[in-house]
Point group: C2
Chain length 200, copies 2
Amino acid sequence: MVNVASALSLEYGTRSESLRTLKYAILGLLNQRNMSGYELTQQFESALCEFWNAKHSQIYSELKKLTDEQMICYEIEISGNVLEKKVYSITETGKADFMNWLRKDEPMGATSKDVFRLRLFFSNKLDQEVRIELLNSQLMQHRLRLMHLKNNQTKFNKVPQKDSDEFSDYLVLLGAIMREEMSCEWLKQCIELCQEGGNT
Amino acid sequence: MVNVASALSLEYGTRSESLRTLKYAILGLLNQRNMSGYELTQQFESALCEFWNAKHSQIYSELKKLTDEQMICYEIEISGNVLEKKVYSITETGKADFMNWLRKDEPMGATSKDVFRLRLFFSNKLDQEVRIELLNSQLMQHRLRLMHLKNNQTKFNKVPQKDSDEFSDYLVLLGAIMREEMSCEWLKQCIELCQEGGNT
DNA sequence: ATTTGCATGTAATCTGTTACATGATTCA
DNA sequence: TGAATCATGTAACAGATTACATGCAAAT
């Protein structure tokens, strides 16, 4: 028997909305200040890079979509003689939509993907030396990243005011540092466990 | 002037290969033991859930592709009277390809995306009470997750043998626990910083 | 009988990456 | 004058989610 209900297009509620996180990342940035697509791309590479990323190709198409949806609008500025630059700003509609997203207390989703942990999960199939080399390589990379982050932190000589953009920035930087410190700790423990009763 | 080289389809090297991580996650699991698509789906929900995830729809289509590519093959088993089950196993080609992937020391990619951190980055636009509520909600969720993970850890009464599947499992579980502990610590610090000089 | 779990798939859509494509501006 | 950076876009493809779709088996 066929599914009559679905044949009549009943019973299966409206399609659930997609998350559109990129949309809100862009709206959030434009809520801080007006920017071009190029500047937004740079923001993703600097300010957001510890928790979000997007290529210019994706950003430009999202900007087009958000303009159509009247969440943002733009004015054209001229750099030099002829080079056109679109400076985007958030609309009132966009601001309202963004604030609505920001306030929502959504339950945590699935843990994010991590290729290295996946590799490690299968690493007992490797020679012990190779496994330790891979762990060491990973450790070095995380140490380097930690160094850069701690260097960024020195730019704050005191905790910023709670309602400032800098304060939020400070919180996420703290999170990034703690994450890298944890990663280094964990990798060191893994290496130790792999070496225990080692090759003498 | 048009790009003659590209018009002639020259000069722009071969398309770079995609990562196909799901492929290797599946090959890795089938390298441990033979399984059906259904069992693989369950493995993603249990053993791999702390660092990878995939829905059954994605898994079944990847299995089809891997079969075409001769990385895996299957035999049909009957459960009960008629219900057919495809039990997949990895081929020698698949095993070689998997080991090749496992050995590679790829540099760390971009930090993985984290919607909560993105929200927090914009959270100075919220009322202080709402911001703290969101942080508390997040903290509770991470505490719960930590509890479950620590409970899993009790299943290991000692560190398993280094070349066993259980040892790798132990390492990634340790990583998951440390990650959740760090998250709880970080969130507590964020809450404190948000409350400092608070509303008296 | 009815619900839960076993078992497998496809279609539509959304999200993200790589490659293609162009041209101006600035600095060495 | 050549390289790096500013500036914007499209097309093709890869990766992932949600919904659609079906039916058997086991337990209550």
